[in-house]
């Protein structure tokens, strides 16, 4: 007795793109609700970042100018390190009661899980960055509110999380788990952070730089985002299936 693809309960067949989008939104909605209840991911990331920044200030206390000079690099380093915490936490949630099995058994495309996870972790990291930007403006007196700086932060975060979800989905299934993630992910994300930090650094002077000077760096960031999202799209189901 062959069964039909739809049951009487489901809504009439929609386009595949609609179904994909519904699934992505469901996963993002779920992650935001969990965060709303526990506030664990963002608060851990923020606490870690503040500690890092304070520690760094302490190391450079004798020389505030030096601290100002390395501020953009410090900003990115803090985001990357705090990001590994967010990635680990958000993907560990799916392993706690093996809910990842429930996601894999649901009638949704695998990549909807990937994209959903990338979006929600990107949102968490952006929330962290909003706080960090405020802190850096106060601590180091840097004009981080400039639109291009914010754009580069958003673009950089997308690429980093796109790579991070793939790598974390693997490391979380190994024995070393949390330990392995930074070793794999940080080198992978440096080709992204290098141009992103260059672009941000160009905007740290009172006078605005020529767009021509930073556009190539911004393009490299965009290319990285596209490459990583493509790689993630093509390989994600190999990482979660068995």
């Amino acid at each position: 007795m062959p069964m039909s693809e739809q049951t009487s309960l489901t809504r009439p067949p929609e386009s595949e793109a609609r179904a994909f989008l519904t699934a992505v939104l469901a996963i993002v909605w779920k992650d935001l609700h969990i965060e709303q209840h526990t506030r664990q991911t963002i608060s851990v990331m923020v606490m870690f970042s503040v500690v890092t920044v304070v520690m760094f200030n302490f190391a450079l206390e004798a020389n505030l100018d030096a601290a100002r000079n390395v501020a953009t690099g410090l900003l990115w380093a803090t985001i990357l390190l705090a990001g590994t915490l967010g990635l680990n936490r958000s993907l560990a949630i799916e392993r706690e009661n093996q809910t990842v099995d429930a996601l894999l058994m649901a009638p949704i495309h695998r990549n909807a899980i990937y994209i959903g996870k990338v979006i929600s972790i990107t949102l968490f990291t952006l929330a962290l960055e909003a706080i960090l930007v405020l802190l850096f403006i106060v601590f180091f007196d840097k004009p981080l509110w400039r639109p291009v700086v914010l754009l580069v932060l958003v673009l950089g975060t997308i690429g980093y999380v796109a790579a991070g979800v793939i790598v974390t989905s693997m490391t979380i299934q190994t024995r070393s788990r949390e330990v392995l993630l930074p070793v794999l992910l940080l080198p992978l994300s440096l080709p992204l952070v290098l141009p992103a930090a260059t672009a941000v650094a160009a905007y740290m002077f009172p006078q605005l730089p020529d767009w021509g000077e930073v556009q190539s760096a911004v393009y490299i960031v965009i290319i990285y985002d596209l490459l990583m999202l493509t790689a993630g799209f093509l390989t994600y189901h190999f990482v979660v299936e068995s």
Partner: protein, 241 residues
Amino acid sequence: MIHIHGLVKQYGMNLVLRGVDLEVAEGEFVTLVGSNGAGKSTLMRIVATLLQPSSGYVQIGGWQLPQYAAKVRRHIGFVSHQSLLYGDLTAAENLDFFARLYRLDNATERVMAALKKVGLFARQRDPVSTFSRGMVQRLTIARATLHEPDVLLLDEPYTGLDQDASLLLDNLLRQEHENGRTILMITHDLTHGLNLCDRTVILNGGKIVHEISSREATAAEFLNLYTYYTRNQREKQHANE
């Protein structure tokens, strides 16, 4: 409804399943028993589209796995000893989320009805992490049957349940069986659920060694049969120890 043919699963040099054949008719309730390491969970994960067999195949409702896994998923409900629920979400939010994933009509009414069915309506706003083991398991069944699947798969559902919770689970399973769902359950526990099912199958060493209809044998007779058919496995285990 479920048709399993020549199923083999190999991990490296280790053969976990050595050619399993099993037929479950529509509306039938079949229990698979076997000791630890008999390959029960592996078999279940293959039927649940979570694992790919090394050879052989599974058909559910005429669709063959793993090729048509995507078409089958909508028709399966899966209950495992893991809850598959988010501890930080409330009971209602958990069900809401799965209603979205399955794109169900009238999601809200359906979620409320499911909560009433398993007696958790009053606790709908509480996070699942505050629930007792028995309540979690009831909610797990509500989640697995939310989309009215034709096939219900149960992997050790009685693990960690006390007497009362087990009786509640018995009732829920009886209900689902009466609703005409095809049920495949695996367990290593011979004291629960065997009186509910139509047929019991003994799995040993990655193979089905005996099948028995529930009407044919009493509990004591069954225990003898089970001891007889799984003795090799135990002897081997003793030898290894």
